[in-house]
Each structure stands twice: as structure tokens, then as C-alpha cells.
Symmetry: D2
Subunit: 471 residues, 4 copies
């Protein structure tokens, strides 16, 4: 609801002839569609060459039987992308295919380099030209530059990882190898699986399920995993203090995924339970804002004993081409996407959970709808702490002046959204979402605290926290 993940990646290395790898990639990307709906692409190695098909649109729109059948090879990488930029985004679709002195590589990546502008400037000073605004092109340049003096592509990737800062899950395909790399904090998720002897990498485990692969293990922070005809081997670069993005658990990831050993679904149930502990209230029913608020509602219900009911119907047919209501129709616009079930909420004191509040306008509309439907009281519970700081690692958080919690106290926000009470998840309880003890911390909560894991290594502030220069 206003916060967007920027990308998902999927890769497969076949040792069994490559039959159906573009199809596997298709289903994998399909399961990662929630991580990016703007553009998508698949690149395959094909007899020493790399062929890539990418375009604006959903996986199901860009690919069809015909064009998928033409993507033949034994290695494939794929990408789904979200972007806030407008017209020029077709150029920014991934994977990126580059020809360099040693041949061809293709790169797909999720995340953001916090020193991207600095690196880009250095490359430009040495004569580089850029045709896109994505970090992947910077990475491709650096890999190409190092590769010319490196014994292997994985060695080049290792060298590049010493220079890039930020959060990333990276897939690099050369005509003979598939390389997966994860940033030294583990900010972005990346897992490895196995499908009938083939090696698979994906942003989330749900993509393994979708293509029929079994989960092997997470790629470790700072790890480089190389899949080739000889099998799979691993190179470790110096890891730093583990700091996986906590918002993957709260909102981004699919609830059936397991990230770094922790079930996303269980985290959300836990968040709901904590919300009750931290902000108990006497009420008749608990409901969640679909889809991302539903799990916390279940947890709240379990902890409180207050019955969980379905409060809303969400219209899932809303696609990219949906015509938004005009200004005069906007008042009720939210009832098009979301409609309260009057018979469920009428005359009830309602606890309503959602994952976050960004600007506050959407949730204010939802609260008003509930009251129109006859809810006597509306107690809002948010399964994350207030958003206060920008993310520099690839999440599209609006600028600070648009974040309602930056300029307003919680009681003020409560009033602004028209709720009877408002409770956020205590920032000091976030460790419980990943099953840690008090005082332990293995995650990044910078968007709530301003505590950036790589602050000491410098964050390229000009970059503005977004992936695109144009933002």
C-alpha cells in the first residue's frame, strides 16, 4: 500500500539438456510477480550467444507459448521489475545483456547500490557510456573491466563485490556459468534450489515451489555461488553484520516463502499477536485489510480471542489498465478495489490490522468505509513501526515529507485517519518477528530507525535511495 519492492530474480542452470528451462523461469517469475509488475524479462544462453526477451508488462502478458519456445538454452535468468519512472522504462527492463572483451554476460539484479553514483562517475571518467539508469549496467561495466584481468567470471564478481556497497541479490550468466551473489548484509533475500539435477536460484522460496524445485539453502550474505557443468561451488567474500530487510517479513515477501530460515507467514501471525499484547482493546471482531493485513489480523485474533471475520472483499481484477475514478468520484473510489462486508461489520466494534501507513490517505478512506457500513468503533493496528526514514537499498519509500509519521504524532495520525485508536508495532519488538531474543538483531530496520547497516561505508546520498537516477 504505497511501498514497493523493486525486483525479483530467478535463474536456472541445467545439466540435463535445458529442456523446459524457459518454462521453469516463466513459472518462477510468475510466483515472484508480487515483487515487480512493471516489466519482466528472460535471457537464455544459446550456443555461446545470449538471447533476451524483455518488455513492459506482467509475466503473463510479455510471454506466450511462441516467444517462450524460442528461448532455448541450458542457462536462463529472469527478472521482474517495479519502477516509479514513466516513459523511458522499457530501456531499464532486465536482464541486461552486454558484450565485452571476453564475450557476453547477462545480469539480473534486485536491490540498490548505495555508492552507485560514485561508481558510475568513475566509470564515466574512464570513458564509459550508459544507455540505461539501472545499477545493473554499472555492475556489468565493473565485471567486464575486472574480467579482462581476472582468471574467471566468478573472480571478477568477487572483485566487484569489494567495491559495490548496498543491498543486492545478483544473478550473472556467462555462456557457461550461472553465478548468484548476495550482498554482505543479506539485505536482499536469495535462495538456492534443485530441480531434477538442475540448480535454481530465486528471490524467494515460493518461486521454487512454483517451478517444482526443492529448497536447498539460502545463499549466505556475502556469498558467491557458482553453478556450472562441474556442479555447484561457493566463494565467500567478507560478510558483515547480518541485516536482512525486516520489511520482507512484514510486507514484501509472499507468506508461503521462508527467508533465512524464518516463515514469512509465521512472522506476520507473530506481529498480530504482538500488536494485541502491545495495544490491547475490547472489541467484537478482528478484520484485516486484504491482502497484506489479513495475517496480522489472524494473529491478533488468536492472541486476543476476539473472533476473526472477513471484513472486506477485494477486487482482484484490477489490472494495469484500470481507469481510476475522476476527482469527483474519488471519495468512494476505494470501494471499487475494496468493499466492506456490511453484514459482518455492522454494529460491531472492529479491530482492523494493516501492514503499514505511508501517507495515511488510503487507510483514512478505509476507516470511513467501515463506519459507513455500520462499524461502531474502528481500532487500527499496524504490524510495523512508523515509517520515518528513506530506504537506500532498493525499496521505493516516498520522500520524508510525504511520510505521515515524520510530521505527526501517533494521536494526530489516529485523528487524521478517523480511527478510535491506533497502535503501531513497537520497534523494539521487531526481533521477535525473526525469532530472536531481546537485544539481538539480525535485520535492517533503517526505515523505522535511521540505523543504516552500511552507514560507516558511506551512502551516496545523491542517489536518493532509489534505484533510478531519474527519480
Amino acid at each position: 500500500m504505497g511501498i514497493h519492492e523493486e525486483c525479483g530474480v530467478f535463474g536456472i542452470f541445467s545439466r540435463t539438456g535445458g529442456n523446459g528451462i524457459s518454462q521453469s523461469c516463466y513459472y518462477g517469475l510468475f510466483a515472484l510477480q508480487h515483487r515487480g509488475q512493471e516489466s519482466c524479462g528472460i535471457a537464455v544462453n544459446d550456443d555461446g550467444k545470449i538471447t533476451c526477451l524483455k518488455d513492459m508488462g506482467l509475466v503473463g502478458e510479455v510471454f506466450n507459448h511462441d516467444n517462450l519456445d524460442k528461448l532455448k538454452g541450458t542457462i536462463a535468468i529472469g527478472h521482474v521489475r517495479y519502477s516509479t519512472t514513466g516513459s523511458s522504462t522499457k530501456d531499464n527492463a532486465q536482464p541486461l545483456v552486454s558484450q565485452y572483451v571476453k564475450g557476453t554476460i547477462s545480469i539480473a539484479h534486485n536491490g540498490n547500490l548505495t555508492n552507485c553514483n560514485t561508481l558510475r562517475k568513475e566509470l564515466e571518467d574512464n570513458g564509459a557510456i550508459f544507455q540505461t539508469t539501472v545499477d545493473s549496467e554499472v555492475i556489468a561495466y565493473m565485471v567486464a573491466g575486472v574480467r579482462s584481468v581476472s582468471p574467471s567470471i566468478e573472480d571478477a564478481v568477487r572483485s566487484v563485490m569489494e567495491k559495490i556497497e548496498g543491498g543486492y541479490a545478483l544473478l550473472v550468466m556467462s555462456p557457461r556459468k550461472l553465478i548468484a551473489a548476495r550482498d554482505p548484509y543479506g539485505l536482499k533475500p536469495l535462495v538456492m534450489g534443485e530441480l531434477n539435477g538442475d540448480t535454481v536460484f530465486a528471490s524467494e522460496t515460493c518461486a521454487l515451489s512454483a517451478c517444482g524445485a526443492s529448497f536447498i539453502r539460502d545463499v549466505e550474505p556475502g556469498e558467491i555461488v557458482i553453478a556450472d557443468d562441474d556442479g555447484v561451488h561457493s566463494v565467500m567474500t567478507p560478510a558483515r553484520k547480518r541485516a536482512g530487510c525486516i520489511f520482507e517479513y512484514i510486507y514484501f515477501a509472499r507468506p508461503d516463502s521462508i527467508i533465512d530460515g524464518v516463515s514469512v507467514y509465521e512472522s506476520r501471525i507473530k506481529a498480530g499477536k504482538l500488536l494485541y499484547e502491545q495495544h490491547p482493546v475490547d472489541a467484537d471482531i478482528v478484520i484485516g485489510v486484504p491482502e497484506s493485513g489479513l495475517d496480522a489480523a489472524l494473529g491478533f485474533s488468536q492472541a486476543s480471542g476476539i473472533p476473526y471475520v472477513k471484513g472486506f472483499v477485494k477486487n482482484n481484477y484490477i489490472g494495469r489498465t484500470f481507469i481510476k475514478p475522476s476527482q469527483e468520484q474519488r471519495q468512494d473510489s476505494v470501494r471499487i478495489k475494496l468493499n466492506p462486508i456490511e453484514s459482518a461489520v455492522k454494529g460491531k466494534r472492529v479491530v482492523m490490522t494493516d501492514d503499514s501507513i505511508v501517507r495515511g490517505t488510503t487507510i483514512a478512506n478505509i476507516v470511513r468505509m467501515l463506519r459507513q457500513a455500520g462499524a461502531l468503533e474502528v481500532h487500527v493496528r499496524i504490524s510495523s513501526p512508523p515509517f520515518l526514514y528513506p530506504c537506500y537499498y532498493g525499496t521505493d519509500v516516498p520522500s520524508r515529507e510525504k511520510l505521515i509519521a515524520v510530521k505527526h504524532t501517533i494521536p494526530q495520525i489516529c485523528q487524521m485517519i478517523g480511527a478510535d485508536s491506533l497502535g503501531y508495532l513497537d520497534v523494539n519488538s521487531l526481533h521477535e518477528l525473526t525469532g530472536l531474543k531481546e537485544g539481538q538483531k539480525n535485520f535492517c530496520d533503517a526505515c523505522f530507525t535511521g540505523d543504516y547497516p552500511n552507514a560507516e561505508y558511506g551512502i551516496d546520498l545523491l542517489n536518493g535511495g532509489g534505484e533510478d537516477l531519474e527519480k
Copy 2:
């Protein structure tokens, strides 16, 4: 899950200049999209003429700002359609616009005439030609024929209703009037609303919500409601024993809709409660098959006290162009659309609710997935009785030989789908879904019982229960 509603209708008569009526129609149809995803259309009266735009595809695909803005007028009717037929369906999209001796009419309709073939034959014997295979064209002919000797269009509709048999919700637009008619059994739902002085008709109340209209009342079985510049007036044709389609409550309708005074959501909760009463079981969790099985799971949980949890993640990005897995990939195909949440079901004795079983193959896959995810036991509870008979009123039930319950006993089905136990809703308890006392019946349950409301008036068996001749 294998059973499809065939259509949804929406209409609006403006007394306030018609500003935005095509937009209201768009949002209304959008909310009815679950009733038909194959084609859609909107017709508007425009200065004595009727303009219609219709095509294959979802409401959000067919309409855009440009083409919607061109649909100006003071009356609009719209339609969403599901169809099992193949290539020629573009011709079958509705609304249907016809020119006849007294001018132009447009018709949109949901349902099926059980004597359509007979009526069609009569018309053809008198020289009629048909360019589509939809019932609406037969109705248009009959209205045109009667209209030439009738004092008014509503009078013509009344005469036609004396001759047509079956279930229907019908909207007829002449350049100056909007007429809504419902079959004498009330088999198909149809409601009236009001939007800033304009009169609105829709298949379900959720469409009223979506366009900002307020609910006035249901159109009664056998009633003709005429909206014109003078206001709204009603004509009653002889009603028969009320027999609204019970499957609207069980599966078709959106849970936020209220049909003939009964909340669809509450019916489904009730079905879940009855399932527990009729088929209790000792288990750890209750889950539902998304989306239509979730509400019954909540009811089962409430009645039994067994915790309700989320068992599956459903991928909502599956669209019309989705590439289905090939034969060799099919085994796991269902994990692409639906994936169990392993952390929620592992090691648990699971009660799983769904709305119905048609062929049994899908649910068998789902049960197997649950076991693969670690469920110890899987107890399937179905919130409807077994399907045994075809529907002649516009619902796409497969032929009898494909219905698993026709040839197998419940214990056999239980074994075939791999469940530990299987319980269907008792057909004798259906009255509870609509809040009636035992022995009362105001609904059609023919697909479970073979008790067709208009059996005595003859059902045109050649018609095969489907809407299309081609079936």
C-alpha cells in the same frame, strides 16, 4: 472451480444529464467481473440512437479512457459474459443492439431460456434469421414482434415474459426507457439502486457499492421495473413459487452482496457451521481453499473452536493469457496457482473446506499438496451437496458423466481425492443458508436434487442446459 456463472448485468437511467454514466457502468461491471470474464460490453442511448462497444476480454482490457468517454448518453446497459465456446464468441458478446420497426432496442441478459430452441424454431419458421447463438437475440426478436402491436415497450416485455421459460435477469434499453425484468421464480438475482437521483439495476449489490449507488430493493420474481423520465414504476407478471438459485449463495455471488435479503457472506459462514455440525472431526486447524472456500472455513472454525489459519497462497496474477504447464509438468501444476503455507500445515491435522467438487481432479491435487507440505490428516468438507444434475438456467455444469458424484459414493470419492474423511453439506439443510425454517424452501436446488422449478412447463432438453446452441 469448474462451475461457471454465465453473466452479469448492469444498467443505469439518468435523470440528471447522464454525466458519467458510462463510467458508473464501467465500475458496476468491474464489480461483477466474477460473473463473467470472457467478454463485456456497454451500450448507451445517444440522441435516439444506441451506441455499443463490446469485445472479448476483461472490463479493464476492453475499456479505456478514450473509448469510455465516447460512450455518452442518458441510459446505459452493460454486460459481462462467461462462455465455454471457442472462436465465434465475439459475435455472442452482449449487449445486443437491434433495429426493428419501432426503432432501436438493446438487450443484456443473464440466464437461460429453457424453451429457447422451441421459440427459436418458431421464429425461424416465420422467416427470422440469427447472427448469434445467444438467447438475447431470441428475446429481441420476440420483443420486436410484439412491440409492433403493443402500446409500449414494457407491454411488449410483459407479453414476451408470458412465453419465455427459464431463469433470467433482463435489461432492455429503448432510446427513452430502461426496463429491468426478472424471471417468475427469481432464479437469477437482480437489484435496484439509486445514485444521485438516477436509477440503477445490477445483478448484485456489490455493483451498487462500486459505483456509489445505494440499494433500494430487489426486483421481485416476475416483476418488470420501468425507469423513464417520469420516475420508476413496476408491472407484475404472474409470479410462481420463488426459487432463487442456491448456488449464488454457495459460490457465484460476491460475499459482500445481499441477495433477496440474505447476506451471501453470512450464508457461507452458516454453511461452514453446518458442516461442523453434520461432519464433526477432531483436528488442529481449519483452512479454506481460496477464495470461495475461505468463508466456510471461518464458519467451521467458529462452530468447532478449531483455529482458522491461512493454508494457501493464491497467485492472483494468473490472467487469460497464462501458459498452462505441459503434460509432464502438470503433476505440480496446481502449485503455480495455489501453494500451501508449509509452516502453517506441517504436522497438523487439517480440516479443509471448499465450495464444491465437480470432477475431483483439482481437489485431489490440493489434498496431495497438503500432504507433501506435511499435513498429518486432511479432512475435506464441502459447503454444498454433491452435484448430480445439470442446470438448465444458465450455469455451466459439466455433463453428468463428468460429475464425480454421479457415479461414485462419498466413501469412493473420499478415497479418490486422497482425503482422510469427506463430508458434504446435507441437502436437507440448505434452507438454513437462506434463514428458513425446516421444510420451507424458496430456492432452486435442482443441481443437487433434480427438482427443477419449471419442470411442469417443459424444459427444452435439446438445449442441453447451456446458453449456447453450439455447446
Copy 3:
């Protein structure tokens, strides 16, 4: 240049299994594309059913390998259509497929019924409804109505031909027969050919060439030709005084076609020769306005001995989606479609031929361009007499008030278009185009003379001369 033919038809009956008939139809329609660029369609009989694919666009846009391969059968009819109407024309695309009491028929037709409104009214009075505004639907009704009491489909067509008035080339396909019929004046062209034992019908012989068929003969005015498994046989209805459209020779038809025994190309060469005889001038070069004015220029050159040169380059890449210049750019707009070859015309006294003048604006621009390119004199010669009357037989001539020759004398027109001299073909010499002697007449020249062949049988003036009611 402002005057448009409305349609072209093509049909094929296969006795050899039907292999490739939709492809033959495709190439035939392709060769008839000059007769209509707005919509096109092909219908095939298929196992007792008739399948039709039609849409807005050129033949090369609507059809592709995939959809053409699906059009299998042993009989096919096709249609290309031009229309001046706007949004609703998709419904008006042909062939029209209709189901009636005796089965299914499909109709494609070129031309216009002059008593269409009367016939339509009669049908409506008997309860008919219409979903399009094309004459074909009226014909379909009438055939269906008569067929129910006729021994055969050809007998029904014969009966219908007794009632319809106007110009038409008609193809009717039943599941087992292909019937071609031509109006009793022969106003619209229609030929028969043979392709490896299969029977072919087409509006022009160029379509026979394109699909590899050989020319057999013209269908005669008033003739009905029936192709079925037994071969080809003919039924004559009472013919009237032959009156083929003279404008087919002057402009509509392709120059490689032969209509009723007369080469279109030779007619145009002849027109150019006559223009020199009737309006000689002393000049340096003769040029034609591409494409339709080029042949008359050749004839003028041959008769006069003045050298023929290429005066203009025409841009053939202009398609349906071409963006027309805005008001301020319009002055020179014609140089986008047409550009003079300066080196050819500079310093020259130029004779320029064109086929007709409708409003006069286009030719005024062309004359001005020639002067800007350095032409010393521009003598315009028009290979037809002045347009003075509407066409009621299917040609889209603008209304009289827009015809420049209705309100202005030839000297006035000469001045208005900026020419040094202007000469039209003498209306009394038109017989020479078809090789007749003076005083003989076997053609319709009503648009020049107002002498309508079927005036005595009544022309339905309300119909306005156009094919569509909406015009």
C-alpha cells in the same frame, strides 16, 4: 481521389478437397484491396457449419498464418469493404453469417439496393430485427424468408432478385453450394474463373490472376451461377438494358482487369487520347497524377506526341494510421503524399491528367505544387466528365453541394484550381471507352448525366445513395 468504391467480393468452391481455399481467398481479396480498405473477412463452410473471421483493417492486417490456417472448408467467400461511417463499422464488416430455419447461409455483396429502405421496412413490419446497417442483412432475411418455401437456395435467390432493385454483385454460400448473382443491369462487375478444377468468382479478373485462377467468363447481368459438387450451372433472371458502371473503367478497377470484355487499361489510354482530341494544347510534357491519372497521361502523350514524363513521386507508405498535418501545416500537406520531380517539370509547359475532380481542393494544391516546382504552364485534363449527380448504386460520391461542378462553370473551376486551361472528357464520347459506336450505350453514366438505369423502377431516395443507413 474523393470517390470510393464500396466493396470487393471473392468466392471459391472446391471439388478437390478444399486444400488452400482460404489462402486463395486471401490472395484474391488482397488483389481487390483497392476496392475497400476498411474491413475485410472470410467465411468458410466447415462440416455443415459456417465459420467467419472478419475485422477492421487491411487483408494483410486482419489475417495471419494462424487464423487463416483455422479457416478450413471446401467453400469460402471473402469481402473487402470501404465505409465512410465511424465507430460502429465493425458490426458492418462482411461476410454476414445468418442462421435460419433451413440452416446457415453466408452473404458477401458489393453494391447498393435502391429500394433497400422499403424492403427493410416491410421486413420490420413482419417482425424482423436488424443488427447491422448493411444491405446484406436485408438480402439474408429475404433469402431466408423465401427459402423456407423454395425448393432450393438458388430458387430463393432468384425470387429475391425479382424484388430487389439496384446494383449488386452477390455471393451466397450455403453449406453445400456457392451462388454468384449479378444485378440485371450488370452495374457491378463479377467474373468467374477456374483454379485446378475449383470454381472461383471475383469482382475483378486481377483477383483471378493473384490466386492463379484462369478467367472463364463474366457473370452476365441478371445471371445466377450455382457451383456445387455437380459442377456449375446457370439460371437467368430477366435482364434489363445493360448498364455497367463506366467509372469502373475510369477509376475504380485495377488496370490489369478486364470487365465485360474491355480492358480497363485500354479504356484509360483511350480516355487520354480522347482528351487530346477534345482539348488539344501546345505543351512540353505530359504528366499524370499518380496512380489513377497516369494511364490517361500515356494516352494523351501517344495521341499528341508530347513526351510523357514522371511528374510526381507518390509515397506508398501512407497507411491507415498516418498522422495528418495540422491546420497550420496543411498548406503543404500534399507534398507528404505526393512530391513533384522538380528537374522534370521546371521550365516546362505541363499537361497534367487526373481521373476526376470532386471538390477541387486536392487538385488545386497539386497545381500550386507544380508551379512552385517551376512549371511555366499547367493544363489540366480530366479523364471523365464533370460529376453532377449522386450515385445510388454503391459508390460514395459526396452530396451535390460539395461537388464543384454543380455550382461552377468549367472556366470558373479552371480559375479556382489555378490551371492555365482545363478540359473534361466529353460525356458524349464515353461510349468510346468501352469500344462502342456513336449512339450506342451499354453503361451507366448517371453520376455525369442523372440518367439512372432503374429510374422507372423507383429509387428509394431516403436511402441517400449510400450503402449505410447511418450516412
Copy 4:
């Protein structure tokens, strides 16, 4: 007919606010469409940024009112491209937009660098990566590299021109300047025009006409012309012996264009006259193969006195999606695109001119068609010498083994194509096409003679003469 030009360029620098420059670019590219039909694009500077829209397809397909209106700015460059490569060509569409250390540049270019592979290798050795296979990306790299140490963009272009070899017409747009450069031989055409105070560059003068600009002068071989707010100024790099591509006159350019002071149309007329002088024949008519053979036919007719007639009708509706006839239909396939006018050629001894013979298969079909149409004799006259050598400057000549004249004598070819006689234009008379005296030469005729203008500077043979590495 088998030989393809690779590109056309258009650029405009506005000093009057830029109103309508993308429209001017559209019309300019439209007039250059014959130089490339595969992809096209327009880039505009916009407030320091450069926005580019490019895609596969014709100018009229890629651009529409909406997307053209969004291309606002004061400088625009555009490109049309032909390519023989398949799937990946979308990436190769131009203009190319690159960001480098000093900002952004966009490049559009026609031609081929003969040392491209060498240059590319050098750049890759220095770490460059390439995302396309077009020369423009090499040029962009080089300009970017030099620009970082150059005082101005034009200075950088000058430096780069010292290193690149081959034939090119180059447009470079920086946010404030538009630079046009032409190779030192003048192999590729490039002209300058003026439109209401704005400066325009284009591959041919016909593009100036189309947008309403007046011709100023040709850009000279080796010249760099810079348009900025201060006006237009010129920088000369060392020119070499002038060697404009002679095939522009024979086939590529539009006949209404004037290249380096010589009318293309007059060249073709002259070629026809020379053909008669060199290969006279007694015949009844002269015809040309449309479109490119028509002008030589006129010249032949003028010189010989044998009447010029129209021999064929060409179907101009053939677009990119045209379905080619299958193997068994191919025999007559050429009659779909081209059909003889039987009445014109029957019983005649025919001289037929065409611009060139590549493989010989097409012209053999055409000769056979003429005989089938009744031609008594067919004398083929080709308005160019035999093709014997590859072109390394951007023209798509097939490989030598496919050139019929490489392995066969003229009498053999005459027999292979079924002609009664065959005459090619004498290679020693080519100077007459550009109005030179005997022994003078200012053109490149390497495809006929193997005399490559820059042979002494080395031609990168690996490059294979094509623009794309993939060829």
C-alpha cells in the same frame, strides 16, 4: 529487388521554440521510409535530458498523435532502419541515447564503418561493454571518450572522424547542439535545409520537401556542420577523393531527390537512354519493372522512339505481415505483388528495364509472366552493371556466391532468366549518370568493379561489409 539500403537520418534544430519539431521529424522520416522499413525512432532534447521513442515497424505504425505529442524539445533526430537480422533487432533500433561523463548524447547514423571491429576490440580492451551490435554504439563510445578531454562536442566528433573509416551520414545531438557529419568520400548522402529559421538535416532532399523545408546545400564530404543557438557553422576534416555511392542514383534514393547536385530522376532517365545506345533492339513497346525500373524505361523509350507503356500493376498493399505463398503456390507467387497487363503486352515484342539483377530468380519469374501474358519477345535491359563485389559501406548486397553475375556470363544469365536478349549498363558509362565527362569519376562503383575508395586504409574484412556483427 534484393539490395537494401540500411538507413535514413533526419535532424532538426529549432531556434523558434521547437513547436512541431517532432512532427517535422515524423514527416521527414516518412519521406525516407524507402531507406529502411524495419525500425524507426525519434529522440528529442528536453530540458537537458534526451527522450527517445523507437520501435520495430514503419514510421506510421510506431508513431501516433499521443506519443508524438509527448516528444517535445528544441532539437530532434530521427532514424529509419533496415536490417537483415532477426529477433534481437529491437535493441538495434536508433537513435541511440547514451549518458557519459559530460552529459547525454544521441546518435543516428546511416552507413558502415569498415574498421568497426578493430575499433570495437580496442574499446572492449579498455573495459567497454556493448548492448547493441550497431556501429553507432562504437561511435558513441569514441565521442564520449574524446569528449572528456575535448573543448566541445564538435571537436570530439572531429577527432573521432580521424579514426573511423567507411561511409557514413552521422547526426549527433547533445542537449544544446545538433551536429551533422559526412564521411570524407561522401559515400552516403546528407543535405542541409531550412524551415522557418530552423536548421534541418536529412539523408535526401525529398525529406526536406515533406516537412516543408527548403534546400540549402549538401553537407560536403568530410564536413562537420554544427547547428546551435548562434547559427550554423562548419568544420572541415581532410576530405579524400569524392566517391558518392552510384547506387543511390540507380536504385536507393527517391527519384525526386537531388544528391550532390544531380537529379536522381534524370540519372535514371539517362541510364535508360544509355541502355538503348549500348543495347539497341527492335521492339514494339518498352515497359519497366515497377517502381525502380520505370524511369529507365522512359529513358529507353525517349532514346529509341519505341512507345512506353505500362506493363505491370504493382500491389502496394503488401505490408510487413503479408503471408507469402507456400512452396506449391510459389510458381505464380510473383503475380500477387506484380501482375502483367495482358492487353498491353499481348502479341508485342517487349523491352523490359529493371535496375539490377541479384540472384536472377525474381526477374526470371517476371519474364515468364510476360510470356504467359502473350509477349512475343522479352528483351531485358538492366540500368546498372553486373553486381560482382560486396559493399562494405552499409548496403546489404548478398554474399558473392549468391550473385548470379559472379559465376555466369551474360549470355548464360540471359538464358537462365529466359530473356530473348539481355543488356547491362556499361560500367564505363556510369560517369554519365552524374554528368561527368569520360574518364572523370566522383563516385564509388565498388560493387561493380571491386575498386573500394578506402582500400588503402584497410577494410575490416571480418566485418563482412554489413552493419551488424551478427550477420
